[in-house]
């Protein structure tokens, strides 16, 4: 099959062009052994099918980041294969100089090439005139002008694919900038530039005095919107559907076809409540589909909007300073932020980080900065009867502890090379809804393929442990250590230890124990801090390997216990006064 490789700088509208060229059948794959993703789709034209591959955005063929390295490797692999390939080099027409740098390097590859200058509308606004014919003549390959967002020029790309040819343009590599200067002198004229409304907004959002409040405002807004929409989806659509339609259907079917009580218990669980039954087909479906999925869906939707508008890079810049103190930098803003909602997408988002050190700190912080949404709801329902003063206490302690932990990890972990922030800030742009939805679809599909099977495995494992008596053995032998240290009744041990397995609801299981408010706060903090939930744990294993996962989990357990013990002692003193 003929292959079309989309290649270009980041922020040149590559994904919009990809989405315009391909149908709904898109696949994202990881490069073997890495977490760098690239997307594939198909284009049908004149009875021929082309495979369209969207490579990660790169500035140059000399890699400086992991993503660039992979893009270049992919380019090499495809060009060494037997398939016919066409390079579709997408350029930002408003930044010709920088973009031509990559084009000239691609020309050196001696592969069939088509050059696309995107953003023809912005070119006009910026007072730039480009002589496309002349550029085509100089580069000796087809040059096409597009406004991908309004589909202008897309048909021309498809029609002229057959004209793709190997350029005979020649130059010496060390003189590339001079050569680019000459080309620009020939083909580009800049008349005048006037400030647009979007330029002004851009200025406001990168100025520290206005930018920081805007950044925090947007963070809070996203948090509120994500929470509101997700909770609405859960309580009005997904939960009712699960309980009235799915569960009834499942029970009817299984009661008819399965006679073995043991098998029924594995599949349906013991308890009628879907979150507590721990059946493979009840809790195993309920957690990923009803509890986690709505958060993933809404958060990725919001994130996609910020990304496509161009705000995400500005947000990273604003938070860079703060995150530096914790051993991270601007790029980690997203996973940390996600941790406020659900830890699963947060861990998925840490794949973009480059060094192991950053990954450890970012995963830790995402896990312990705040309880996940279901936990938050449980803590609120248990502690709120005692008044707002007590309610704020666990959340404040958890947040401060995370900041302190970040500082500590930054000091303790061996210093490797800190990756420096180096980020292009794209101009604000309108969103292209189909591209946004396509990206959302790919991310959701990844979640179902990556995370959901892990949750299944986890639940089967728990069932096996329960049936074989391992759970009881752990509770009887180790439970007392925890309850004694934290000053809690002995019976709570089973809840604490099984919290790992059903972390999201375990806090609710504290209700029947008649704990004092002091004990409730300590138990809540401990349950939030001491271990990741089962879905998150397996996801960390998948993303970062078993060794790193065990290290993180072990640290969390010891650290969570220590912090909860200290808090317990402090609260004791405070309650005496």
């Amino acid at each position: 099959m003929k292959k079309i490789l989309l290649i270009g700088n980041p922020n040149v509208g590559k994904s919009v062009i990809f989405s315009r060229l391909t149908g709904i059948n898109v696949i994202s794959s990881n490069y073997p052994g890495t977490t760098v993703e690239f997307t594939k789709g198909f284009l049908k034209h004149n009875g021929e099918i082309y495979e369209v591959i969207d490579l990660p955005g790169i500035y140059s063929l000399e890699p400086t980041t992991k993503a660039e390295e992979i893009a270049i490797k992919l380019l090499e692999e495809f060009s060494n294969s037997n398939d016919k390939i066409i390079l579709l080099n997408i350029l930002d027409a408003t930044n010709l100089e920088r973009n031509l740098n990559l084009t000239l390097q691609l020309i050196k590859k001696k592969l069939p090439l088509v050059v696309v200058l995107n953003f023809c509308d912005e070119v006009k606004h910026k007072g730039i005139t480009i002589n496309y014919q002349k550029l085509q003549k100089i580069l000796n390959v087809p040059v096409i002008s597009t406004c991908a967002r309004s589909a202008e020029g897309i048909k021309e790309i498809i029609d002229r694919l057959k004209e793709a040819n190997i350029s005979n343009f020649n130059f010496e590599s060390h003189k590339k900038w001079e050569k680019i200067g000459e080309i620009l002198h020939e083909v580009q004229q800049i008349t005048h530039k006037h400030h647009t409304f979007l330029d002004r907004i851009s200025e406001i959002s990168i100025n520290p005095y206005s930018g920081l409040p805007i950044a925090f405002g947007i963070l809070i807004l996203i948090f509120i919107i994500t929470r509101t929409i997700s909770e609405a989806l859960i309580s009005y659509i997904l939960d009712p559907f699960f309980n009235t339609v799915y569960l009834q259907f499942l029970k009817n079917i299984l009661n008819k076809i399965i006679t073995s009580d043991f098998l029924k218990e594995i599949l349906l669980g013991k308890n009628p409540t879907p979150m507590e039954s721990f059946g493979v087909l009840t809790t195993g479906i309920y957690i990923p589909l009803v509890v986690v999925f709505p958060y993933i869906l809404t958060f990725y939707f919001m994130l996609g909007i910020l990304e496509d508008i161009g705000y995400l890079s500005r947000l990273s810049i604003m938070l860079d300073n703060l995150l530096h103190k914790l051993g991270l930098h601007g790029h980690s803003a997203i996973p940390i932020l996600l941790g406020f909602g659900c830890k699963v997408p947060a861990v998925l988002a840490t794949r973009i980080l480059e060094t192991n050190r950053e990954k450890i700190i970012a995963v830790m912080l995402a896990l312990i900065l705040a309880p996940c949404m279901p936990q938050t709801a449980m803590i609120i329902s248990l502690v709120s009867p005692y008044g707002i003063k007590y309610l704020l206490l666990p959340f404040t302690i958890i947040f401060l502890n995370a900041i302190f932990t970040g500082f500590l990890l930054n000091k303790l972990l061996p210093k490797t090379e800190i990756s420096e922030l180096f980020l292009e800030i794209p101009p604000y742009r309108m969103i292209h809804i189909p591209t946004l939805l396509k990206k959302l679809y790919i991310r959701i599909k990844d979640f179902f393929l990556d995370a959901v099977p892990l949750i299944f495995v986890g639940i089967i494992l728990i069932n096996v442990m329960e049936v074989s008596g391992i759970n009881n053995f752990i509770i009887n032998n180790f439970g007392e250590v925890f309850t004694k240290l934290l000053n809690l009744p002995k019976d709570v041990a089973s809840v604490l230890l099984l919290g790992f397995l059903r972390k999201d609801v375990s806090i609710a299981l504290l209700a029947p124990f008649n704990l004092t408010v002091h004990q409730l706060i300590v138990a809540s903090i401990f349950m939030v801090l001491y271990l990741p939930c089962i879905s998150t744990f397996f996801l960390i294993v998948k993303e970062h390997g078993i060794l790193l996962s065990l290290k993180i989990t072990f640290f969390m357990l010891i650290w969570g216990l220590l912090i909860s013990f200290v808090i317990n002692q402090l609260l004791k003193i405070a309650f005496l006064l």
């Binding site: 200025e203 810049i317 292009e424």
Partner: protein, 76 residues
């Protein structure tokens, strides 16, 4: 007068006369078109030691404080 990018005032222009010489940073800077001899406009910086935001042509770029400190410009 010669200053580094962190010392430059916001909205001030300068011509780059020196960039860091380790090959990794150099590659990154070159890929974005940041090189000796070109005009740069400083847009803002995030205090106190945050990223410095500059404009080259129509491209806006945020550089970490450490890199910005190593880029020297001449102001006319």
């Amino acid at each position: 007068m010669i200053k580094d990018l962190t010392q430059l005032e916001s909205k001030q222009k300068g011509k780059i006369i020196e960039i860091p010489n380790d090959s990794k940073t150099l590659k990154k800077l070159d890929a974005l078109g940041i090189r000796v001899g070109i005009e740069v406009l400083k847009l803002s910086s995030i205090f106190p030691k945050g990223p410095v935001i500059i404009q080259i042509g129509n491209t806006q770029i945020a550089l970490s404080h450490n890199i910005a400190k190593k880029i020297k410009v001449e102001i006319h």
